[in-house]
Symmetry: D2
Subunit: 259 residues, 4 copies
């Protein structure tokens, strides 16, 4: 039985995390950190009577939990995770915004403390498995392209997940020559190029968040696709993280590393 503190418990993701932890048999929600939460509003946020409410980091009682589950904001996450590690809590972090330098520093701290933890830019199990499988398939199918599809409001392209997928593939695939005679009669039609891996970004209303990795080989094709319809999907990955973080002895980046 592990005890959990949820930082950012009143936000959209934090609330889903509260509901998740409340539904788990082996994990107990013992505290939340939420700047403006008043004790009277507990019920509205699905917090039981025994859950301690802290409004600032400095108030947190370090003995209250084994796991620090963080769904806060970029400006708070570094201090939060450092505090957790320094007080022997295992951080599980869904908040983005850590710099590479901060990440390295926190990993080193976790190694000194021999404390497990997880930083995951994406907790959606379908996206995490897609990345894991794509990396594995690329060993056998060096010819690969990525198509990601998002709602029309997403302004940047490619998506972070598509780029992460390309990076993972690039780490493992054999040196690979693309077709030197290839021509484009319409600029950009062959997509963006990450180390020879073509990425295509589709932006259409109606769509939510989807990614396909297409592998081709002599006489055959393999396609891995994931669809995120709803943020609820993140919670399956958070559950896996809460269950497995106790087995780790340092802070790991990427849920796929612990599957």
């Amino acid at each position: 039985m592990a005890n959990v503190l949820i930082a950012g418990a009143t936000g959209a993701m934090g609330q889903k995390a509260v509901d998740l932890v409340n539904s788990m048999a082996n994990i107990e929600l013992t505290a939340v950190l939420a700047p403006h939460l008043m004790s009277a509003d507990r019920e509205q946020y699905h917090l039981g009577k025994n859950v301690q409410v802290f409004n600032s980091l400095t108030d947190v009682d370090p003995s209250v939990a084994d796991i620090w589950l963080d769904f806060t904001v970029p400006s708070a996450v570094y201090d939060n995770v450092k505090y957790a590690l320094n007080n022997d809590m295992m951080p599980v972090v869904g908040t983005t915004g850590l710099t590479d330098k901060q990440e390295t520093e926190l990993i080193e701290l976790s190694q000194q403390k021999q404390l497990g933890g997880l930083i995951a830019p994406n907790f959606g199990m379908s996206a995490v498995l897609l990345m894991k499988f794509a990396r594995e398939a690329a060993k056998y199918f060096p010819d690969v392209e990525i198509i990601e599809m998002h709602h029309a409001d997403k302004k940047d392209a490619p998506s972070g997940t598509a780029l992460s997928t390309a990076k993972l593939i690039d780490q493992v695939r054999k040196s690979h020559e693309s077709n030197p005679d290839e021509t484009e009669s319409l600029a950009g039609v062959r997509g963006g190029d990450y180390h020879g891996i073509k990425i295509h970004s589709v932006r259409l209303p109606g769509y939510i968040a989807h990614e396909q990795v297409l592998f081709g080989g002599a006489g055959e094709a393999l396609t891995i696709r994931q669809d995120s319809f709803d943020r609820q999907s993140f919670m399956s990955g958070v559950k896996v993280a809460l269950e497995k973080v106790g087995n780790l002895d340092h802070l790991v980046v990427g849920l796929e590393k612990i599957l």
Copy 2:
């Protein structure tokens, strides 16, 4: 019952056309035009005893057929079709290579003669229907992107069918504003742009010839996809053309126009 002459009967497509016509109940193969074919080789090319063999255009007996089915070469097709029309044969043309000027001239000739005919750059019914449906759907879904996928040996991009599809869509869709705030962190990742319609070309070994048209609207998506696995697929469209050409009174470009 209509009689057909097949020009280019010994080529790969011509041979498939011979087999097709041989299998049709209401159409009879009465002649072929093939430069180097010797009468002794009829059997090898599936030609019956009654099929007349001509080795040059000037030898062709104009009364031998009602329909001129042409699977020859770019250098021959203009003279062939002109000869057919001048001799009251309805041309059905699968050969590419006519210039816009030649096409216009032949259409005018067909109108003077009040003779039906069809020029089809693509006889594959799945591709033809995809284009037809895409054009129709674009009236209701102005937000659309095209993804075409071909074998790695195809050097040019986008494919002719993808570009034709974009042109058809462009003719009908409402004026349409793309996202002005859109940014690419990897050049080309948003695809090629034809009048605001994004086209993405995938080139992978194993793949043959495939096209998808993706439409998105508030809360929904519509996708039309066609796969060409084999040139055999062209014959279904040739069959439709042979059956319908008699209803036309001039030369039409595009099989989708007569469906």
Copy 3:
């Protein structure tokens, strides 16, 4: 400029319809019928000051609107539509529950009154276009199977849209022999059979409402797919119906008939 009364304006679909009509330039919302709506609650339901509120059918002022847009309940729809027609309003009906007999009777009434109208079991444009295109493609591709995919909570199978699609295909495709030697080593694996058209129903959590129609022919395949992510998708079809109902001279069943 047409005036619209919305029956069922406070329900989930009715509210979306209110927002739609409020956003249209050539259509004005002049009245609503909603049993329990109090005039004081107008603002909450996005109803302008000039919108008349009726709580029962007998109160409705027949001169208030040209179009009767109905998103009510099965028990009310027949009386509503009859009332609309008898009072020279053109009904646009998204409510299900009319029996075949009632439908026939209402169509006859509309013909006597020479009043246009539309009954649509599905206003999602992607589903409506899928059905239209599937019917058309089946003329050329008699070999077809349907796969529909819905969330795990949907208890019945196949979906209404899948069955409607099969019926439309069945009306047009050539007589068709299935493979008599076919065997199933696992009962049901070849799907449900509607007049020789195989239908497959997938039920999985995460999925929303999706349908694919797969056509196959010699050397090629054509696939039409629609995804409904959100009920918002219905409104695009309602918009088309409101714009086109004025051109009709009787009550039509199926949005695809007027596209």
Copy 4:
């Protein structure tokens, strides 16, 4: 450098295997076993001057090769593999038809001899990876259905690969309750049922051999798809097997086990 004997070298698959081995740098083709092959016909079958030709099993010189690559017929495979093992050759077997009893016996023999080997019902890397990934994903997504699509001439359903995939998934997924209230208004529409895993078989002309595994979870979906367009695809898996068989110390069943 390993030496290979190919049994069944003149068959369709055997010929592809000859071409594969001829193209590999570290593997040499030293012999073939082919009942009716005459030495004069070597060239026709792409066999070099130094390749020994045997017409019957009893003639085979056991010192000629390290690896026995078998693409023969069900009636020959058992004797072949036994002979190979007894003569210290590592068998790589693409021939089907071994009974469970024969398979067990050959594995035991390989263990006594401490000889590696591989029996693979499917050498297509896309199919093999699909099965491997499906098994892994099922640990996190217990809700899964399988759709396989084959050409209309395939009489039996489901396909062997689809059933194998279901068996692999069944080994790992958590106990799983299907929807007890589920109803079918068309018998079979929910597919075939293998231990609660639904399988759907599509049979259409044009299609070749394709399989999809669909996973669903709260708010997301993961799909793995493979397409076999051509038997050429088997050779990528044979190549992997030839490269890795030397690392094994007994006969393994299933290419996915050694990836």
